[in-house]
């Protein structure tokens, strides 16, 4: 006898707009998103922003303190490292590595994850069995150990890091997509498409995918923060990009030997990692709250 409110079908696009509006309302998350954008701009326009050549060594400025400390100089606002290279410039260039690797790994992994997850969730059968087994096996490795093991075998290098991280990362979007696909494939509009004789490919990519994209995007942003920390960790261990390329993790590692006499060499790159990762985390949490009501509390 209770009166059921009929659920009105909601257009995907207006839903997206409403979600974005909710996201904008969350001031902290929105501010964080701006910080992330600033980091991206910094990475893109590094050559124009950086006060110095990040690779130019000048032994006369070795371990020079930041500008506000005694002996500091505006030429090196955040001081210089053990080779007299400008720390600020290296941090600005380092953003390129962090953001590029983070984005590349997430894009590669999410693409693979979406395809594998759709295939497993929609086609079921042996495809699902194979993919799910593979996922189970890869989940059997602690993430960092898997990446370290791969890097140890493949050797350092930009491409290798992306591979080493993406090898396991795709499992996460894959599981999300598979679960969503399983739930979605029985829905009416999918049934209808199938009844109309749409191909499996069409249904997967045109009917199902657009409707499960929200959680995938949310997961991807959260994971990006994680990937950036992982890259920094690998670089810290010396398993990251090849020096002298500026990478934040490697910069922290380099400064470690000087921490007793020149704290700034390690501290600022670490702060950069913290700031970027924190901003991504806050923004992605806002995104999650706005886009995925199941997570909201």
């Amino acid at each position: 006898m209770s009166i059921l409110e009929p659920t009105a079908p909601v257009e995907a696009e207006s839903l997206f707009r409403r979600n974005m509006a909710a996201f904008m309302e969350n001031r902290l998350a929105f501010g964080s998103a701006i910080v992330v954008v600033l980091f991206v701009l910094m990475a893109v326009f590094a050559p124009w922003i950086a006060p110095n050549d990040p690779y130019a060594t000048n032994l006369f400025f070795r371990l020079q303190p930041p500008v506000w400390m005694e002996g500091g100089d505006w030429a090196y606002p955040l001081g210089a490292d053990s080779l007299g290279r400008c720390i600020l410039s290296r941090i600005i260039y380092g953003a390129r590595i962090s953001i590029f690797i983070g984005a590349a790994v997430i894009i590669v992994a999410t693409s693979i994850g979406i395809l594998a997850g759709l295939a497993a969730g929609y086609l079921r059968g042996w495809v699902d069995v194979v993919i799910s087994r593979l996922v189970d096996i890869l989940l059997g490795f602690p993430y960092l150990i898997f990446a370290i093991g791969l890097m140890a075998m493949m050797g350092p290098g930009l491409g290798n890091i992306i591979l080493a991280l993406a090898y396991k990362e795709w499992v996460i979007p894959c599981r999300v997509v598979r679960g969503e696909t399983l739930a979605t494939r029985e829905l009416e509009y999918v049934e209808a498409a199938r009844a109309l004789g749409a191909s499996g490919r069409h249904i997967m990519l045109r009917e199902i995918l657009p409707n499960i994209l929200s959680p995938v995007i949310v997961v991807a942003t959260i994971r990006m923060a994680h990937v950036i920390i992982l890259e920094a960790s690998l670089s810290f261990l010396g398993l990251g990009v090849q020096p002298p390329t500026a990478s934040w993790g490697a910069m922290v590692a380099d400064g470690r030997a000087f921490i007793l006499v020149s704290w700034w060499v390690s501290t600022f790159p670490g702060l950069a990692i913290l700031l970027l990762v924190l901003a991504i985390n806050v923004a992605s949490q806002g995104l999650r709250d706005a886009f995925d009501p199941r997570f909201t509390e």
Partner: protein, 511 residues
């Protein structure tokens, strides 16, 4: 929660620190753990440094690099290839058994014989013994070593072998030797906490060590701990806080901090490792001596030594350390002169300069980057490529195989400070350390001759001549010999660093 944290911190304050360090416990903050405690089964300096406090050798070195009999009472060179050693009576191993001439023979046989370690295994230290033909017992106190060819280095190299007990080795086997050390040295092994520390205790029945060095009897401190602290900043911090009393590999940039602290000081000693740039003499660019000279003129060694090494290195113009036997002290220096470098390049047909890659391993990155920027300034555009040492070894030390690459920043150790040990491997045609791919038949002949020359003065002259040759030919750009830098607690006395990086703690005392 807060309360718990407070309790933790409070208890840390109360019990974490200094009070636990007793007066007679000498703690060394050491870069790395021993690989093994078997004196015959490793090729690692740090491992030997630890082992050397447990085991004594037939001969030893004092910190001024003089050779002294240790387990031996004396030794004589009978002929160019025959040495006799008189083993000191009354020495006991840590288990109380007597050290006999049989034990000495067993020890050396274990190293030099094919399969001498048992189980078909040969010792990786065999090459440190040179061309040994036989080891014989002449009587109950005399041992004779016969070489297959003259090798004047034998006495200088013998300190690298430590005497084990035959009975002990036979009882526990080669595997047991890796962890159960039992020698005749000033300290006996108390415990080895792998990856963390090696704990040694004073051997009260110690005979007193080498005769040439002032007699000391048993060690001064009751206990020695080699505490593994790989991180250099942590090692310094531990020294400054008094947690440890001696650290090795003190980073040069921390010297002031240590010297300014009330409870520690810096001690340096000229090392035995020569640093140099190997130029690929087989390659198209560097087969021209003018290009090689251009590199030498492009590098401001004094600047790098001053800025990166805090002045703790001595520049060299030949391969040998200034302290080495046979050093030629009259070599002309290639001064820092970028204009001259450019001119030489132009002369060699590179008016627009050249572009090269500089290989090095991670530990030398700072230096490599600095060198690269200096070279680039002088028209030699240089990119640093850091690789792992094992791969770089394969790439550069090809022993005659084809070689790729331009410049390799590397070093060669010479713990004996005898030229033979560094000159031959790095400069003789296709020898194991000849990263430059240098080949000079004249030099080869001279080195071969010097190796077997028994007249010490004549031999020294030959090496001086050899150094003059390579100084002119410049297959390598010779850089410097860095000092070994130690941080030492002011409580520590009677210890001084040794160029061969051994840390002999027999006589060291803590107040």
């Amino acid at each position: 929660m807060k309360a718990i944290h407070r309790t933790l911190v409070a208890s840390a304050i109360a019990f974490g620190m200094a009070p636990s360090v007793q007066a007679q416990e000498l703690i060394v903050g050491f870069t790395r753990d021993a690989d093994t405690l078997d004196p015959a089964n490793h090729r690692n300096r740090e491992t030997e440094t630890i082992i050397r406090n447990i085991y004594d050798g037939v001969l030893t070195r004092s910190s001024d690099m003089q050779i002294h009999p240790e387990v031996a009472e004396s030794f004589t060179q009978v002929s160019a290839t025959v040495y006799d050693f008189t083993i000191r009576p009354g020495i006991t191993f840590h288990d109380g058994s007597a050290l006999t001439v049989e034990d000495v023979k067993f020890t050396l046989d274990r190293v030099v014989l094919e399969g001498g370690m048992g189980g078909g295994q040969s010792s990786p230290r065999a090459s440190l013994m040179g061309p040994v033909e036989s080891i014989e017992i002449l009587d109950e106190s005399t041992l004779r070593i016969t070489l297959s060819e003259p090798w004047p280095l034998l006495p200088a190299m013998l300190p690298h072998q430590q005497i084990v007990s035959q009975a002990h080795v036979e009882a526990i086997g080669a595997d047991g030797m890796a962890t159960q050390a039992m020698g005749a040295g000033p300290f006996r092994l108390a415990e080895w906490r792998r990856g963390d520390s090696v704990i040694l205790e004073r051997f009260d029945a110690y005979y007193g060590g080498a005769t040439g060095i002032p007699e000391a009897g048993p060690a001064c401190v009751e206990r020695v701990i080699f505490q593994v602290i790989p991180e250099s900043a942590s090692r310094v911090a531990a020294l400054l806080s008094g947690d440890v009393h001696l650290i090795n590999e003190l980073p040069p940039h921390s010297m002031n901090q240590v010297n300014n602290s009330p409870n520690a000081q810096v001690m340096t000693v000229n090392g035995t490792r020569s640093f140099f740039l190997a130029l690929n003499n087989e390659g198209e660019i560097f087969n021209d001596v003018r290009v090689r000279q251009a590199v030498a003129h492009a590098i401001d060694r004094d600047l790098i030594i001053d800025r990166i090494l805090s002045g703790t290195a001595t520049p060299i113009d030949g391969i040998l350390s200034p302290d080495a036997f046979g050093k030629n002290h009259d070599l002309p220096a290639y001064d820092y002169n970028p204009e001259r470098a450019r001119a030489l390049l132009a002369e060699a047909g590179y008016p627009d300069g050249i572009t090269v890659t500089l290989d090095t391993e991670g530990a030398l990155r700072d230096t490599a980057e600095a060198i690269a920027s200096l070279l680039t300034n002088a028209g030699i555009t240089t990119r640093v490529q850091v690789g792992e040492s094992t791969l770089l070894t394969q790439k550069w030390r090809t022993q005659g195989g084809p070689k790729e690459g331009d410049i390799y920043l590397t070093s060669w150790g010479n713990s004996t400070l005898d030229p033979f040990d560094i000159f031959v491997p790095t400069h003789r045609t296709n020898d194991r350390g000849n990263a430059a791919g240098y080949s000079n038949p004249e030099l080869d002949a001279l080195l071969d001759e010097a190796a077997v020359e028994l007249d010490r003065a004549r031999r020294g002259e030959m090496y001086q001549q050899a150094e003059a040759m390579v100084n002119a030919d410049l297959p390598y750009v010779y850089l410097w010999v860095p000092q070994d830098i130690y941080g030492v607690s002011t409580r520590l006395s009677n210890w001084s660093p040794s160029p061969d990086s051994r840390i002999n703690l027999h006589r060291a005392c803590l107040d």
